[in-house]
C-alpha cells in the first residue's frame, strides 16, 4: 500500500511524495510554514516557504533564513505534488496548506478562525479528503461573541477608566492579537501607547502595507503624565510588573479566548478579562470541519482526546496527532494564539 499523502514523524507533518514538512518542530530541509507564531515557525530549517504576507514577521523573528514566498491560491508542483496556501483567518499572512496528489487532497489548517476580524485575510473553506485541524478551543463551552460586542466592552471599559483618571493597560499576545485589538479601539477616547514587543510587530506589519491606528511607543523617557486617558497595549507578561506600575493609577485587562473561563480569569488577577481569540470556537471548528467534506480528520493542539471522540460520534474517521504545538500551555493566557 502506498504511503498516505501526509505522515506524522518526529520532525512534524511530512509529505513523503513531495519530500517536504509542514510546520516542523525539528530542523528539516524544506519547511512549509502556515504562519509566523513561534510554535509553528521555528528556527533551523534549510529552506522555508510561506505566504508573502507572513514573510516579514518570520524574517523579523527568525533573522536571515532562506525564505521563498508564495501568494494565496498560487500552486507549486513538486514531484507531482501540488501545494497551495489559503487564508486561515488566524493572523495576517496565516494560511491553511492544501496538498494534492493524483486527485487526493489533504489540508493542514495551521491555526484558524472562521470569523472575519477585519485585519487577517478571511478564512477560506476548502474541500478535501483529509483535514488536519487544530482544536485549541474544542469544547462546547467556548463560544465567541461577535467582534463588535467585544469592541463595545473594551471601549466602554477604556472610556470609564479615562473618565476616572486611570490609565488602561490591555494585555494581549504581541503578534496578531494586539494588532487586531488596535483596530477595534476607538481612538476618539484617548491616545494609544504600545509596549516594545507590540510595537515591533506593528512596525513590521505597517512596513508590508497594513494600516494600523497611530501608536506611541512607551520608552523609558516617555512622560507618562502627558498622555491622560491613554490605553497601553502590552504582552500579558508585562501586566503587574514594575513597568506597568509606572503608569500610576490604572486598570488592567487581558484579551484571550481563555478569559471565557472564570477560574482562569480570577487566577490571572487582572481587573478585566475580554474573550477575544484568534482560534475557532466550538461552532467554528465544527462548521469548518463540516464544510471541508472530509471523512478523515486529524486533530492537533487542544482538547484532542475529547474533540476526537466527539468527531467520531459525528461519523468521522477521527484521530489524534501528537504535535509540539502549544495548544495546552500551562498558563493558557500566555499561550500563543
Amino acid at each position: 500500500m502506498a504511503d498516505p499523502l501526509l505522515t506524522f514523524t518526529d520532525e512534524g507533518i511530512y509529505c513523503p511524495q513531495g519530500d517536504f514538512h509542514i510546520d516542523p518542530w525539528r530542523p528539516v530541509d524544506r519547511a512549509l510554514i502556515t504562519h509566523g507564531h513561534a510554535d509553528h515557525a521555528r528556527p533551523g530549517h534549510q529552506s522555508y516557504l510561506a505566504t508573502h504576507a507572513a514573510a516579514p514577521v518570520m524574517r523579523h523573528r527568525l533573522g536571515d533564513i532562506r525564505l521563498e514566498t508564495i501568494g494565496y491560491g498560487e500552486a507549486r508542483v513538486q514531484n507531482g505534488v501540488s501545494v497551495s496556501f489559503h487564508p486561515a483567518g488566524h493572523v495576517p499572512g496565516s494560511a491553511q496548506i492544501r496538498v494534492e496528489h493524483r486527485g487526493e487532497v489533504w489540508v493542514v489548517s495551521g491555526d484558524y478562525k472562521v470569523v472575519n476580524d477585519g485585519l487577517s485575510e478571511p478564512f477560506e473553506s476548502l474541500r478535501c479528503h483529509a483535514f488536519i485541524s487544530e482544536c485549541t478551543f474544542g469544547l462546547p463551552v467556548f463560544k465567541w461573541q461577535p467582534q463588535d460586542e467585544i469592541a463595545r466592552q473594551i471601549n466602554g471599559w477604556w472610556a470609564e477608566n479615562a473618565a476616572s483618571g486611570k490609565t488602561t493597560i490591555l494585555g494581549a499576545y504581541a503578534l496578531g492579537k494586539a494588532q487586531r485589538l488596535l483596530c477595534m479601539l476607538d481612538p476618539a477616547i484617548g491616545p494609544i501607547l504600545t509596549h516594545g514587543a507590540v510595537e515591533n510587530t506593528n512596525v513590521v506589519l505597517r512596513g508590508q502595507g497594513i494600516t494600523l491606528p497611530d501608536t506611541t511607543l512607551v520608552t523609558p523617557d516617555l512622560k507618562r503624565g502627558n498622555h491622560p486617558g491613554a490605553i497601553v497595549l502590552a504582552p500579558p507578561s508585562a501586566l503587574g510588573t514594575p513597568w506597568a506600575r509606572k503608569f500610576g493609577p490604572a486598570s488592567d485587562g487581558l484579551a484571550s479566548g481563555w478569559m471565557a473561563l472564570r477560574g482562569i480569569r480570577r487566577r490571572r488577577a487582572a481587573d478585566r478579562g475580554f474573550v477575544v481569540s484568534d482560534h475557532a470556537d466550538w461552532e467554528g471548528l465544527n462548521s469548518a470541519i463540516r464544510n471541508t467534506g472530509a471523512e478523515r480528520i486529524f486533530v492537533t493542539h487542544g482538547y484532542t482526546e475529547i474533540f476526537r471522540r466527539w468527531l467520531e460520534e459525528q461519523g468521522y474517521d477521527a484521530r489524534i496527532v501528537q504535535t509540539a504545538y502549544e495548544g495546552e500551555a500551562a498558563d493558557p493566557a500566555e499561550a500563543p494564539e
Partner: protein, 530 residues
Amino acid sequence: MKRFADLFLTLDQTTSTSARVAALATYFATAPEPDRLWTIALLSGRRPKRTVTTTQLRTWAAERAGIPLWLFEESYPIVGDLAETIALILPPPGATTDHSLSHWIDSIRALAPLPEDDRKAAILDAWDSLTPPQRFVFNKLITGGFRMGVSQKLMTRALSRATGIDEAELAHRLMGDWTPDSHSFASLVTAPDPTANLSRPYPFCLAYGLETPPEDLGPPEDWAAEWKWDGIRGQLILRAGEHFLWSRGEELITHSYPEFARAADFLPDGTVIDGELVAWTDGAPLPFNALQKRIGRKSVSAKLLREAPVVLLAYDLLEEGGQDIRALPLEDRTARLRRLIAPLPADAPLRLPPAIAFTDWAELHALRDTSRDNAAEGLMLKRRAAPYREGRRKGDWWKWKIDPLTIDAVMIYAQQGHGRRANLFTDFTFAVRDGDALVPFTKAYSGLTDAEFNKITAWVRQNTLQRFGPVRQVKPHHVFEIAFEGIQESSRHKSGVALRFPRMSRWRHDKPASEANTLDDLKDMLRTYG
C-alpha cells in the same frame, strides 16, 4: 436579577477591596429589602434548600445544548464549576425578562413539591429567559457555594456603610441561626429585638500566626499564654434554660455533643463561654482522630460517648449574668471564668485548661518546645489588657505554633483543581519508598506558588503514565517536602498512617526520587509523635 448579576460581575471584575465594598454598599442601599436580606444570607453561606439535583441539572443542560452527557462531563472539570459550565454550554436565551433575586429564589423553592417533569420545564424556561451572567447566578442559587470573593467581614463592612450601623454590632447581629424566612431585613439588621434570638453567638475572636519573635511583643508580663489545642473551637451558650453549642464556622452543633446537656446543671443562665472542644479522658486530650469520629453526627451512640467523650476547655467568658462582658480586659474575664469553672465537679463537661506561668520569654520558648508532649500545636499568646474583639485582627491574640514535622515524598498522582485553580494540576498524591515499591500515604493541595503550579502542570501533561478518570498517574520523579502538624495510626490508609494538615512546603529539586524518605521513616515518626 439584573441588579444582582451586575453586582456579581462588578465584584468579579475588580481585585480592589475598596471597589468591592463600594459596589456592595451601593447594592445594600438601593436593592429591594428582600433582595438585600437574601444577599446577606447568600454571602454568609446560607442558601435556598436544594430542589433540583446536580445530576438533573447536568442532564437537562446537556440535552438543551444538544450535546451528549459525556461531553458535558468532560467539559465540567476543565471549567471547574458546575454552574458556570451550564451557563456556558446553553444556547443563547430567547426573550429575557427581569425579575428580582427573591423572585427567582422563591421560584426555585416552589419546585420542591412538583413532579420531575414540571421541575425540568421550569428550569429550562428559566435558563431560556436569563442572560448568560444571570444564568450563572441562577445556577449558583441552586448548587450553592456562592462566594463571590467576598468575605463575611467585607460584607459586614459594606452593610455598615450602607446602614450607618457600627460594624462590630452588625457582625453580632448577623451571627446565629437566622434564615430569610425567620427574619426581615429590619428585624435582622436595622431594628433587631434583642430577646428574639436566644441562641445567637458572639463573633469569634481569631488570631494571626506570630511572624516575629515574641520578644517583639514587649514585656512578658503584659501577656498570658495558653496551649494551642488541636480541637474544634466552640462557643457554649446558656440562656433561658436552654443550651446551644456553636462551632467557629457558625454551625449549631449542639446535638453532636450531648455531653453539654448537663451544662445547665452546673452553670447559671446568661453564660457564654469560648473554648476548645477536645476528646478527653483521664485528664488528657485524645488524638484528633478520636474527636473526628464525633464531628457532624446527628446522634451519638453510648459506645462512642464512652470512647471519645468531649469536653470544652474553657478559655474565655463573653457573657456573665446575661451581660455582654467582651469589653472587659482579658484578665478580668478569665478571673470571672475561673470563679465559674473551678468549683465544678470532675464529671462536668467543662475544664479550665492548665495555666502556663512564665516570667521571661526564654522560659516560654522552652515551654513551647514541649508542646507535642502536652498534645498541643504550640502556644496562644493573649494580651492581658485586651477586650474580646470580633474577627481576625492583629495585635492582641497570636498563635505561636511549633514547627511542623516534615518528610520528603514522591509525587505519583495528580488531579486538576477547581475554581481559581481550574485547568491547573494542584491536587497531588504522595508516596514514600518501600524497597522498590512506592506506598501512597497522603494527599496535599497547597503550599506551592502559582508559578510552581504552572510548572508542575506543564510537567504532568508531558509525563502522564495513565489516566483514571480525572486522576493522572505520573512518572515518579519529583520529590516534595511535605509538612504536617501530626501523625496518627489509621487503618483506612494503605500506609497505615494519617497526617494532620499535610501541605507541600518545598519542591526538592535537589533530590531524586530514589532519595525520598521510606515507609520505615514514616513508621518511626508515628512511634515518636503518634
